[in-house]
Amino acid sequence: MQYLVSVIDDRTASATPDEMSAINAFNDRLVAEGHWVFAGGLASPGTATVIDNRGGEAMLTDGPFLESKEYLAGLWIIRAPDLDVALKLAAEGSKACNRKVEVRPFLGG
């Protein structure tokens, strides 16, 4: 079963060196214990471009699809046998990156 752990941010500054080293230690643990699938940080929402090609002509819009105070700052994809394990890991992830996180299962994961 795979879960998306989204990092929710409301600040503009990226991770501090302390936060980075905590995130790296947490990532190492995910790898060592077999939970690791993927992780990455995202550039600020202002760097996003929305593309809509449903009409056959790609329309580009500058900026994120949703303007909000809180935004997605990064993500983990983890492997866990059930939600309890995923929640425990996500709680540690939240502590490591010093931000709120959201846990969401992949469909048919």
Binding site: M1, D82, L83, L87, R104, P105, G108
Partner: protein, 413 residues
């Protein structure tokens, strides 16, 4: 067997066997939907067949077998719809390494799953009443003044989340157990309180069906976890509160305060059972187990229910217990209840000063104003008392409570 006898047997089987049947199916089929519907079908079959065929010698076994067959039928029907994944899920079982302990029971797994902290509180309450309590969606909807379709959707959504996010069907590990048990107790206490003092103006002020259900679930939980102090504490608290239920509402539909209740109308059997539990926990506390909030609240209620006359109440004991509770839970509501006891011990003036300090946090809470009103009345400050009653009446939702407050206000000169 008479028609009434069969009906009684079905009701009893429903009480005793519903959660057992649902829980066993949920584990076997790894799917709460299948479990719930197959259990409902089995009970429907009992209603149809038992009057003609007679009540089977072992109703529980009959229901379990019938429900199992219904579930298999349903899974087969669904897997024919080209859904091989369902069959794979049939095989999904929880960790087989889990030790078989005193608390290993499918129903306990069911309770912990329904009360999982990843579900919203209102979903936990609804799921617990449906899957563990066996109430119908219509009954739960009525209890919480929600339309039946909305309640049905709430339950469906919760079950869908359990399945999609794979909330495990498992008794939590020892390390997580205390926090998870307190989550289960919170659900039971919420159900009980909604029955004990219904919040809405459009419902009966007291809902004995809900208080009875919460007590039944509390007793069930205690059979699984007889050593857990807070489980015993909550059960004792509910029993000692329920014991006063009939004395709590007057013939005219007014809430009757503790000091005005006819103590002869209290239920002696429930009180005895509650006192027994409190004594058990006092012994455990004497042996060094720190009591939690439910145990302390139960002890406070034990002091009240030990007094044959309100004048015999051991108020210093009540205040001492509240002191203990404040250390555990320094919330303004606890402080307010402590002040009510202080009024009896040290007089209304001391109590009023304590209550007034809570104004910033409790200005929107009817009990704050009702307490002030009573204290001001006792101090002969009629005009201020009347204003406080007015505010309390404005904020109170429960009809019996509004009636009692209005009467008290109108008695002021």
């Amino acid at each position: 067997m008479t028609v009434a006898g069969v009906r009684e047997a079905i009701t009893r089987a429903h009480h005793e066997e519903w959660s057992r049947v649902v829980a066993a199916l949920a584990r076997r089929f790894g799917d709460l939907d299948v479990a719930e519907e197959a259990a409902a079908e089995a009970f429907a079959a009992a209603v149809e067949r038992w009057p003609a065929d007679g009540v089977p010698p072992s109703p529980g076994a009959w229901l379990a077998t019938t429900a199992g067959r219904k579930a298999i039928d349903r899974v087969r029907r669904e897997s024919k719809r080209a859904d091989k994944q369902k069959e794979a899920q049939l095989l999904y079982d929880d960790d087989p390494a889990e030790p078989l302990g005193a608390i290993d029971d499918d129903r306990l797994r069911l309770i912990f799953t329904c009360c999982h902290p990843a579900l919203a509180m209102e979903s936990r309450v609804a799921l617990t009443l449906r899957l563990v309590g066996g109430l119908t969606v219509a009954q739960i909807a009525r209890a919480f003044l929600v339309r039946e379709t909305a309640m049905g959707q709430r339950i469906t959504r919760a079950k869908a989340k359990i399945k999609a996010a794979r909330i495990p069907y498992r008794v939590p590990s020892a390390e997580d157990l205390p926090a998870r048990v307190s989550g289960v107790l919170a659900v039971l206490f919420l159900v009980f309180n909604e029955g004990y003092l219904a919040t809405g103006p459009d419902t009966d002020p007291v809902r004995p069906d809900l208080t009875a259900e919460a007590i039944r679930l509390g007793r069930l939980l205690r059979t699984f976890m007889p050593e857990d102090g807070e489980v015993a504490g909550l059960l004792a608290l509910m029993l000692l509160t329920e014991a006063r239920r009939t004395a709590r509402v007057s013939a005219g539909g007014e809430l009757v305060a503790l000091d005005e209740q006819d103590r002869g109308a209290w239920d002696a059997a429930l009180i005895a059972e509650g006192h027994q539990l409190v004594r058990e926990r006092l012994a455990a506390a004497a042996a060094g187990a720190a009591p939690g909030r439910y145990q302390i609240l139960a002890a406070i209620n034990a002091v009240h229910t030990s007094a044959r006359d309100v004048r015999d109440t051991d108020w210093s004991q009540v205040v001492a217990l509240y002191d203990q509770l404040v250390r555990l839970d320094p919330s303004p509501v606890v402080a307010l209840n402590r002040a009510i006891a202080v009024a009896e011990l040290d007089g209304p003036e001391v109590a009023l000063a304590a209550v007034n300090r809570l104004e910033p946090e409790l200005a929107g809470y009817h009990a704050y104003h009702a307490t002030r009103a009573d204290l001001l009345r006792r101090l002969g400050r009629g005009r201020e008392s009347r204003a406080a009653y007015d505010r309390a009446i404005e904020l109170a939702g429960n009809t019996a409570e509004t009636a009692a407050l209005t009467r008290r206000r109108d008695r002021l000169r």
